[in-house]
């Protein structure tokens, strides 16, 4: 019993670590093809990581432990989240500790650590990135927690395994207004948290338009590899979370090897599809000005609030 469960956890973590660069490569390839370019290939991010890992580790002068630890903590927090979220199975040894609020908070911890690293460099760009990142993170927090609230109402708990298995048993609740609104709100929140368009352009090279990239300008070599991997893992995990919450079919609800294998395959397929759709949508979007981002986030907050209200009023109490 616990063998399959523990294997599920390990598989999730390894899958996320290994699959994140592939997903990033796929998204870039989709985008390139739609823009009429040949693209660098799906394996390019892996090649980049390998190249970076072999370079000389360099620390910027005048920085301290925050700068050195941030890349590790970034990957670390995302890996812990990958272990907790029931991406492949809801029956794992950690499933009763997989609280959605805990997951959100651990991800926020990664953001905070990276912001501190940005400030630790003492350059204007680092501070700028940190400042903008914390502003966006602060404004996205109400949306996320209200979506958590909306999701916890039908299942009566914020435990992820309970929410996901509840959704597997009762798919109708996902198509309800509350479910759709929560999905929309969480989608916008995920875009903000991972630094994708329209909140932030991950492939920009103009420092004054950067949010996430500006904090990591000083990193190079293995540190940069970890930072890139961390960002890609974050995207993968959050897309996986969206998929688990709103398209949970295929997730193993029992701890059996067959169900687990099927779940992993379906997870890969679903995340790939979602990533491709996101990449395709990004072709048509432009980055919004930093001071229009709060309007976007306020809209998503309203959607989440409506999700909670719909959940209450339509479930009727």
């Amino acid at each position: 019993m616990s063998g399959a469960g523990a294997a599920a956890v390990v598989a999730q973590v390894v899958g996320v670590i290994a699959g994140a660069p592939l997903l990033a490569g796929l998204m870039r390839q989709v985008r390139a093809r739609m823009e009429g370019r040949a693209g660098a290939g799906v394996g390019q991010p892996w090649r980049d990581l390998r190249k970076l890992l072999r370079k000389e580790p360099i620390t910027a002068a005048g920085t301290g432990p925050a700068f050195r630890l941030a890349p590790l903590l970034l990957v670390d927090t995302t890996a812990v989240v990958a272990a907790l979220v029931p991406l492949a199975s809801t029956d794992t040894p950690v499933s009763d500790r997989a609280d959605l609020i805990v997951v959100v908070a651990v991800l926020a911890l990664g953001t905070v650590v990276l912001a501190l690293a940005g400030l630790d460099t003492g350059t204007a760009f680092g501070g700028m990135g940190a400042s903008r990142e914390m502003t966006v993170a602060a404004l996205v927090e109400p949306t996320i927690l209200l979506s958590v609230f909306a999701l916890s109402i039908p299942s009566g708990s914020t435990n992820l395994a309970a929410i996901v298995s509840g959704a597997v048993d009762d798919p109708a609740r996902l198509a309800s207004p509350a479910g759709l609104l929560a999905a929309a709100a969480l989608a916008v929140a995920v875009l903000a948290e991972t630094g994708r368009l329209p909140v932030d352009n991950p492939s920009t090279h103009l420092e004054l338009t950067m949010i996430h990239e500006a904090m990591t300008l000083e990193y190079s070599g293995p540190d940069l590899a970890l930072v890139e991997l961390g960002a890609q893992m974050r995207l993968t995990v959050l897309l996986g979370l969206l998929v688990s919450l709103f398209a949970p079919w295929g997730i193993a609800t029992t701890a059996s090897w067959g169900a687990l294998a099927l779940a992993l395959v379906l997870l890969a397929v679903k995340v790939t599809v979602l990533g491709a759709v996101l990449a395709a949508a990004e072709v048509f979007w432009a980055k919004v000005r930093l001071f229009r981002v709060p309007e976007l986030l306020a809209g998503s907050f309203l959607l989440a609030l409506l999700a909670v209200a719909a959940s209450f009023f339509l479930n009727g109490k």
Binding site: P57, A79, T111, L116, L119, G122, L226, F313
Partner: protein
């Protein structure tokens, strides 16, 4: 005389010895002896509180101590929480103060003698069991804290103004408390707490409502709630840092204690709208407080506003508990109250540590302004590390201690939709949104405080000349850091005590949360939190990732390289983001709420108006509530005073005549009304 009584008696004894030592010993011996006795006083208070949390109760009546009314003391689990918190903070601050007071105005007889008195009142106020005892101790607390706040008035003129604001507002609160509690005692026919409890049901609803609103306003002012918070950001920066720590981590909690004791216990719960008011006040204070903290550049002002925010969150929990109790859902109410109490404890731990660390910074550099600090991480590594531990607690993220109480609070609110009523359905999501916004902004605030204040390079000569604090200060801070760590990793140990405190507040003995083996498990609704596991998972994963990276990368030795400067030469420390610049996006987003003021002064050259000699830019974010609310009130009072001068004609006959006519009129009215 059980443990609680013995510990309280010991506390009083230590306070007397400390005060005597402060008054009469010579300078060299005064500070260590008074500090050590204050720390012992704190330890005794902590012991009393812990014993009370363990289930022991104690009461004592001393009829001759206060003329006319006597002193009545009673300790139950609810008082125990606040006594334990106050005792622990006093213990750490006592040790810290030994190092901090050396070489300042603070080693004078006055300060050293008054500090133990203040500490003792902090421990005794939760033990008061009659209206007169409570008010006497409350006023004593206010007076001693006022004396300590103005301790450094010779060095800075702002201290006097801060003292004035504090004195006026705390006494205004006292008047509100006095009126409310006296009305209660008159209506219930007795002034001891058991008499009040018994007589509350017989009072008319109007009387009960008025008592709650009046006394609640007084307590809310002490807790730093908007709009009566104006004293908090003025008094805390100007007070000596260890006094600020005591005030922020122990004194403001007593406002919360008052609301819980009065509303839930003595008045026996109340209609829903009381608790709706409490929750609304808490939510508004939380968001407003953290917004003001986000744009504050003075480190201690930032911490003071953060206190306002955290106590707002506590009051959200208390309000939710009251609402659920009024709707009849006892277990959920007990859960919400347990969350509020746990947050009080957590907040005390990290806020005291934050203020002590700010005091270390002030001691080393003489600066409070974050814009001028920086680079302290290399010069004061221990203080920086301790500040980071406290900041982790303050941002309410795992594995910090603020996270456990915030999780518990969110659980209570999220399960609250089970309580019937449309108003609950509207209030709860808004409360959750307020908590979320304040948590997000708190993260930004403490990233600013830690990153701008301690990291990167020093932006002024004073910051460059910083040195590490003396060992007693580090020891005091270390004690608080240990407390933060213990609360972060093993909150389940507190669960039985919190449940007992909820029972003492009148929420009967339902056990909403249990601490099985360091986990926090909710019993009536489903949910559990195991902070130690989270911390452990993070640590294990970090080791794994680090090992993997080392294994995969080829070269091992790290080299240093210059920062990227766009090829334009080495960046100066002044180019780094300061606190003002860090907060600028937030200030723009919340422009309507904050209403910042900007001034540009252009001084042209004398000979020609077209050439500019100097440009001066001045930006400040005033406290908008002070502007909009206080200024008109103060102007109105001032006009009233000027108008009333017409009564002062200068004739002694007129003055005597006013008194005589008033007396005669009153007697006539009395005679007629019989």
């Amino acid at each position: 005389m059980n443990t609680v009584g013995a510990a309280l008696a010991a506390a009083v004894g230590f306070a007397a010895v400390a005060a005597a030592a402060g008054m009469w010993l010579p300078l060299r011996a005064r500070v260590p002896v008074a500090g050590a006795c204050t720390a012992a006083l704190g330890a005794a208070g902590l012991a009393a509180g812990v014993a009370a949390l363990g289930g022991r109760t104690w009461s004592a009546d001393l009829p001759d101590l206060l003329p006319l009314a006597g002193v009545h003391l009673a300790v139950d689990a609810l008082s125990g929480v606040f006594m334990a918190v106050a005792g622990a903070v006093v213990l750490a601050v006592g040790v810290y103060g030994i190092g901090y007071a050396g070489g300042h105005d603070l080693s004078s007889r006055g300060v050293q003698a008054v500090l133990p008195g203040f500490a003792l009142t902090l421990i005794l106020v939760p033990a008061a069991a009659s209206v007169s005892t409570f008010l006497a101790l409350w006023e004593l607390m206010a007076l001693t804290s006022l004396a300590l706040v103005v301790a450094e008035h010779r060095q800075r003129s702002a201290v006097r103004e801060a003292g004035l604001w504090y004195a006026v507002m705390t006494h205004m609160g006292l008047v509100l408390l006095l009126v409310g509690l006296a009305w209660f005692a008159a209506g219930a026919g007795g002034e001891s707490f058991p008499a009040l409890r018994a007589g509350a049901a017989a009072m008319s609803p109007t009387a009960r409502n008025s008592v709650f609103v009046l006394a609640g306003l007084g307590f809310a002012s002490k807790a730093g709630m908007v709009p009566l918070h104006a004293w908090l950001p003025r008094a805390h920066p100007e007070a000596p840092s260890h006094v600020s720590a005591l005030m922020s981590a122990a004194m403001v909690n007593l406002g919360v204690y008052g609301i819980i004791r009065l509303g839930l216990d003595l008045l026996g719960g109340g209609p829903r709208w009381w608790w709706w008011l409490v929750l609304a006040t808490g939510a508004v204070s939380a968001v407003y407080g953290i917004l003001q903290a986000a744009v504050a550049t003075d480190l201690k002002r930032l911490l003071a506003y953060s206190t306002s925010e955290n106590l707002g969150l506590v009051l959200v929990g208390v309000g939710a508990a009251g609402m659920f109790n009024a709707a009849g859902d006892r277990p959920l109410a007990a859960l919400a109250l347990a969350a509020a109490l746990l947050h009080t404890v957590n907040h005390a731990a990290f806020k005291a540590l934050l203020f002590c660390a700010a005091g270390s910074v002030l001691h080393a550099t003489g600066l409070r302004d974050l814009d001028k600090l920086g680079g302290l991480r290399a010069r004061m590594p221990v203080t920086a590390g301790l500040f980071a531990v406290a900041a982790l607690g303050a941002v309410a993220l795992p594995p910090g201690n603020g996270f456990t109480s915030e999780w518990l609070l969110l659980q209570a609110l999220m399960h609250g939709l089970a309580v019937p009523g449309v108003s609950t359905a509207i209030v709860l999501p808004v409360a959750v949104a307020a908590i979320a916004l304040s948590a997000g902004l708190a993260a930004a605030v403490f990233v600013k405080a830690l990153g701008v204040g301690f990291f990167a390079r020093p932006r002024s000569t004073q910051a460059a000349g910083a040195h590490e604090s003396p060992p007693t200060m580090l020891a005091g801070m270390g004690l608080l850091a240990l407390a933060c760590a213990a609360l972060a990793l093993a909150p389940g140990a507190l669960a039985p005590g919190l449940v007992r405190a909820g029972a003492a507040a009148g929420l009967s003995d339902v056990r909403p949360v249990s601490g099985e083996g360091l986990q926090l498990r909710l019993t009536q609704v489903s949910g559990s939190l195991w902070p130690l596991w989270i911390a452990g998972a993070l640590a294990v994963m970090m080791a794994a990732v680090s090992g993997l990276t080392r294994g995969l990368s080829r070269r091992r030795r790290r080299t240093q390289a210059r920062l990227w400067d766009c090829g334009g030469g080495a960046p100066t420390p002044r180019m780094a983001y300061t606190a003002t610049s860090f907060a600028e996006p937030l200030q723009r987003v919340f422009d309507d709420v904050l209403a910042p003021e900007q001034d540009v002064d252009v001084t042209p050259v004398r000979e020609s108006a077209y050439l500019v000699e100097r440009v001066r830019f001045h930006s400040r974010v005033p406290d908008r509530i002070e502007h909009r609310l206080y200024r008109p009130v103060l102007n109105g009072l001032s006009n009233l005073g000027i108008a009333a001068r017409r009564l002062a004609t200068g004739s002694v006959h007129a003055y005597l005549g006013y008194g005589f006519c008033t007396l005669v009129t009153l007697l006539v009215v009395l005679a007629v009304m019989q």
